[in-house]
Symmetry: C2
Subunit: 315 residues, 2 copies
């Protein structure tokens, strides 16, 4: 595989699958995963960063494929005793997973940046790829629903994505990307930018809500490729379809292409959606047809190869 630095914008599970595929076929040192931190929250005194952790665990091969979050071979002793004590335990933290939260929270209290402690943790798990939280500031995804304003975890975990979404916003004071994110976005050796098939509204938009990131991507001369999170009118995973409907959007790949319009040069869609290819191309966006459902490691590798080939093709 040709060398060159690749940026991938990712949320949790769905995005992490493509990241793992890229990790299998590229030089890990040349991969820069800019990860959503809009879901981050404070819980029992810990700083929890769900998408960053899902990505780290997935790349390290220790993620739970059963639950889609947390670690494999996990135990729940602390969680269960919290329940016995009548304490908060609506957000399930496994015993192994907990150590990461303790370690990171202590580092943050000691003045380390989220980026620095994330990289330290990634190194401990023997990862050479660059896992970059989108910002070292707290930027909180706020969901306005028929049940009131909810943070991401209140919406997604506590209320199981049931409330009807009216709008989504990102709460922060002058959000800035981390120094590391800023640097890679303008790196002369950058080969291309990938938008992973994460939820565009809840996982990718928080990243693009940071003006400097959006501007760098909009102005980038490198090929910028999205992989659709929608196949044949269905979301590959999670509540993407439900949210699109609630926001009054048509659930198809055209809506996705329109959503990313100024940020992408090409989009990878499934063969099942080839009927939309012409209309997307007429927007000036290249289309690559592929099989984009990622059920196993071979699928992930194949989609990653399609993405890298597409970048080479557009360059």
């Amino acid at each position: 595989m040709a060398s060159g630095k690749i940026i991938a914008l990712s949320g949790g599970v769905g995005g992490a699958k493509l990241c793992l595929g890229l990790h299998q076929i590229c030089e890990p040192e040349e991969l820069y995963f800019i990860t959503n931190t809009g879901d981050d929250f404070l819980y029992l005194g810990f700083y929890i960063s769900p998408d960053v952790d899902t990505l780290v665990y997935t790349l390290a091969g220790i993620n739970s494929t059963e639950t889609g979050w947390g670690r494999a071979d996990e135990t729940w002793k602390t969680h269960n005793v919290l329940g016995e004590l009548g304490a908060d335990n609506w957000f399930k933290l496994g015993d192994k997973d907990l150590a990461l939260h303790l370690h990171r929270s202590k580092a943050l209290r000691n003045g380390e940046t989220l980026t620095s402690i994330t990289q330290d943790i990634a190194n401990r798990f023997h990862l050479k790829a660059n896992v970059l939280p989108m910002s070292d500031q707290m930027i909180q995804t706020i969901i306005d629903t028929n049940k009131g304003l909810l943070s991401f975890q209140e919406y997604f975990v506590k209320q199981a994505s049931a409330p009807k979404i009216e709008s989504i916003s990102f709460k922060s004071k002058n959000p800035e990307p981390s120094a590391e994110v800023t640097e890679i976005l303008t790196d002369p050796d950058l080969k291309g930018i990938v938008i992973c098939p994460s939820n565009p509204y809840l996982s990718i938009d928080p990243i693009l809500s940071i003006k400097k990131i959006r501007q760098s991507i909009t102005e980038s001369k490198r090929p910028r490729i999205a992989v659709s999170p929608i196949i044949d009118g269905q979301s590959v995973k999670g509540p993407t379809k439900k949210i699109m409907e609630e926001l009054g959007l048509k659930v198809n790949v055209l809506t996705i292409a329109e959503h990313y319009k100024n940020c992408i040069d090409g989009i990878v869609i499934d063969h099942l959606d080839q009927g939309y290819a012409g209309e997307i191309e007429s927007m000036g966006i290249h289309v690559k047809l592929s099989e984009i459902m990622m059920n196993n490691d071979d699928d992930k590798k194949r989609v990653a190869e399609d993405v890298i080939n597409f970048i080479d093709q557009i360059s």
Copy 2:
């Protein structure tokens, strides 16, 4: 067993054994365990209160008799991963135990008192006895050693009690007992006060360092009984003997009686130490000879019965 409220001053393991004995023979609601918190410390962002926890776990019957601290049937997943992450894990926290620290720390951050959250935890473990931290303020035992000033946990756990002690002090700003401790010390239904066979210098002195507690005990008209932590020149458990030697004290029950002189009316010593009985009695302190080594539950019950009988006898 005759009714009436009993106060017992206790540290960790050794004291908790007598507390458990009292718990077996008295009405739990009438027991008030004033517990050392000089060992309390902040660790990984948690407030840890080792003696309070040892007492709660012991009374609840879920303590580890193997280690002498923590819970039985414990696992160490979080602890082990902390090690893998290169994080602090010199203080071993079990997975079940951790839940208590999370729960208590959150309550303290929310403005609850240590006394209130301790009682809440005790209730969750179905205890009816009153476990009272000596104070709701942080009062830190500071040990001046040949290795410098150490906190209790640095001395006891991190350095395994190896440094030579030069002096012991208790760091706090105008330490006050909790409201609950103040109340029970002057309760008209108080039947007697027990000083458990904990380390006098590291576990009981922190409690007596609070002027109002010492004064209440000194002035109390109720029988005040100590149980010796020394048998035949040896400490029953832990570094009591070593510390006495380092402080230039003779390791015998006479030294213990002298140490508690103004705070006790009687002392329970082992048959092996009957040679000291005359000299202790000449100080105006009653002596009860007994078998005070507590290896099993029957021992604990028997020593507790001796203590209660001694209180009745002196009354």
